[in-house]
């Protein structure tokens, strides 16, 4: 009881997190001018990294914050690419088509959410996979796609190679920065508090008046839009569209790997996970099957031994929060953080331990 008598304050920003946000701004600016200095191959690789960050952040938004684990997010990835192909074929400039496609994917996800969000846990996870398979098969019926033979985003050829590479790079960077920004703002808003309440305990959240389904729908549509954009961007870098590659469950496997390793439910975790995945792919990607076995095994081991991921471990070890989306309770008279109470808004599992 004596603790309650002391002066307390609720804290969100720390000196470390202010520095981190400034650091992020500097990194984004540096990345924006990078293509003028880097060689072409590196620009392409960085574009891929940005797309991975989008994928990880969007899957993390859905699973880590919304409590919705989906194994069918490739449906939005494939659909983003497919709609870009379709729109470009209708004569729209490919770069504009990419954004319209992203919006189209978001629009598609809205009615889908009406019945998919009724499913819980594993049913939602595999249900989404079935949806992905169904959409894949339906896209195959489109004559333009020519079944599994696929087609290409030919209209990109209108742009000269360097212009094309740099435009795609900047679009990917801008999409990544914008999506991360939107997610950061949403998670820190009133809706964000609702989201984290749902993640911690859905029934309890509903009982205090959180509109569970509406809040989940917001995350579902946001994730669909982000992953749709990622699919469109990937198409722009790869040019060819084969339904099998874009609607492959592999994409969701990558998302799960990145988020599990980086730290599920941690804003910074998804970014860290994407960078790690990018490095692993760069170094070991040529190892073929063993590379995939390694990815699966790593995800499995992390889910068993380190379910909060690397960033969760870093947070716990150094009490570090760089991009804070929760609040912490500080007992100012002692000048120290009340550890047990400080975790409330950030960590569901630790909350149980401290209770």
């Amino acid at each position: 009881m004596s603790a309650l008598g002391q002066a307390m304050k609720v804290e969100r920003w720390t000196p470390a997190s202010r520095t981190a946000v400034a650091g992020v701004a500097i990194v984004v600016i540096a990345l924006a001018v990078a293509p003028l200095l880097l060689r072409a191959g590196l620009v392409d690789r960085l574009t891929a990294l940005f797309i991975y960050v989008i994928l990880a952040a969007m899957w993390n938004a859905l699973a880590g914050f919304g409590g919705l684990v989906s194994v069918g997010q490739q449906v939005f990835f494939g659909l983003g690419a497919y709609l870009t192909i379709r729109l470009a074929d209708a004569g729209i400039d490919p770069f504009i088509a990419m954004f319209v496609a992203g919006a189209g994917v978001a629009l598609f996800s809205l009615p889908l959410s009406l019945f998919m969000l009724r499913l819980r846990g594993g049913e939602f996870a595999i249900g989404m996979w079935v949806i992905a398979e169904l959409v894949h098969l339906l896209v195959n019926l489109d004559r333009l796609v020519q079944g599994e033979t696929g087609t290409s985003l030919i209209s990109l050829n209108a742009y000269e190679a360097t212009t094309r590479r740099e435009t795609i790079y900047w679009l990917a960077l801008a999409s990544m920065a914008a999506l991360l920004g939107i997610l950061f703002v949403v998670l820190r808003s009133r809706v964000g508090a609702a989201i984290q309440a749902i993640r911690d305990n859905e029934d309890a959240a509903a009982s205090v008046g959180v509109r569970v389904v509406t809040t989940k729908r917001l995350l579902f549509v946001l994730a669909a839009f982000g992953i749709g954009m990622a699919g469109a961007l990937w198409l722009a870098t790869a040019v060819t569209f084969q339904p099998k590659t874009y609607f492959s469950v592999q994409w969701t496997a990558y998302m799960i790997f990145m988020v599990l390793v980086g730290g599920i439910g941690r804003f910074e975790g998804a970014i860290l996970g994407a960078i790690i995945f990018f490095l692993i792919e760069t170094w070991f990607g040529s190892a073929g099957v063993w590379y995939l076995v390694g990815l699966g095994a790593t995800a499995l081991i992390f889910s068993l031994l380190l379910p909060r991921g690397l960033w969760g471990a870093i947070e716990a070890r150094w009490d570090l929060r760089l991009l804070p989306v929760g609040y912490r309770l500080v007992l100012s008279s002692k000048g120290q953080v009340a550890r047990s109470a400080s975790q409330i808004s950030d960590h569901p599992t630790e909350r149980v331990e401290s209770a």
């Binding site: 009724r118 398979e133 098969l137 995800a299 499995l300 889910s303």
Partner: protein, 296 residues
């Protein structure tokens, strides 16, 4: 038309067989095992290896493969699922997904991309059939698979209802803590349940290998078929699973009639429709309940 209905029901028997382990695990542990299909394919490869290398006929091979599958199930629960379900309901999904990727790719590493079948090792059973009036041929293997599915589903039901282990498993699934108070070892009950589920997966793998071909990446479609059959039948209900398998197969048959690429589409559409209808009925039932409440 009648012929297609009969073939559809027989195919539904296979789907019920592959779905029965998934449905069983879901009903007693609330866990959906994403490695379900991959484990069935693993069993099929095990039988293929025994037949190819050591000349052991697949039906005899089951005597080796099924105990191995049971052991895999026991270990799966003890070392993976028990640990990961402590971290919440979502973590086992990710754990079993990781496991599926590992199994699929290890199988690929070991056996390559070739498609295999157990059909060459079971003699004439793979193509023998009975001729029914009206030029209808009913495959003996397909009937056998349907019979095994019904027997397994019925056996599981009896086991859960009447055996002492079955009661322990049901008690654990209702309330593990209270079950613990009356002396039930919850960990053991769940491990036994998973072992049983993996035996059915092993049998389903044998059925897959005998009636069709498989390759290292066949696990994902089998998981989806199993899941669709279980959900259409009402997840967790064992007899519903049989009905779900038959509905799935009939929808696929119908889809194939309508369009050359319609087989899989038909099944997936049936799944989505069932979800739709359930949503609608749930809404209606809620409305009915308020009506009745008001009248009372």
């Amino acid at each position: 038309m009648i012929n297609q209905l009969i073939q559809g029901v027989l195919l539904g028997g296979y789907y019920a067989l592959i779905a029965c382990g998934l449905s069983f695990m879901f009903s007693v542990m609330r866990i959906i095992n994403l490695a379900h299909g991959s484990l069935a394919v693993l069993s099929a490869f095990g039988l293929w290896l025994l037949a190819e290398r050591f000349g052991i006929q697949p039906f005899l091979g089951l005597a080796i493969v099924l105990p191995v599958m049971a052991a895999i199930g026991w270990a799966l629960q003890r070392y993976l699922l028990e640990r990961s379900s402590r971290g919440g309901a979502l973590l086992p999904i990710l754990t079993t997904f990781g496991l599926a990727i590992v199994i699929d790719n290890l199988l690929f590493e070991q056996f390559g991309a070739d498609t295999r079948s157990l059909a060459p090792y079971i003699g004439s059973l793979s193509y023998d059939s009975w001729e029914w009036p009206g030029n209808i041929y009913v495959g003996k293997l397909a009937v056998l698979i349907l019979v095994i599915a019904v027997a397994l589903l019925g056996g599981l039901q009896l086991f859960l209802s009447y055996s002492s282990m079955g009661r322990s498993i049901r008690a654990t699934s209702e309330d593990p803590d209270t079950a613990g108070l009356v002396g039930i070892d919850a960990g053991r009950a769940n491990a036994v349940a998973t072992a049983i589920a993996m035996v059915t997966v092993g049998i389903a793998g044998a059925a897959l290998g005998m009636r069709a071909t498989f390759d290292p990446y066949s696990g994902a479609p089998q998981l989806l078929f199993a899941f669709e059959a279980a959900v259409i039948g009402g997840a967790g209900s064992l007899w519903g699973t049989l009905a779900g398998g038959i509905v799935l197969a009939l929808a696929q048959t119908l889809g194939a009639q309508l369009h050359p690429l319609g087989f899989l589409i038909g099944g997936h559409v049936a799944f989505v429709l069932v979800l739709f209808v359930r949503l609608f009925v749930a809404g209606r039932a809620g409305g009915l309940r308020t009506l009745i409440g008001r009248a009372g």
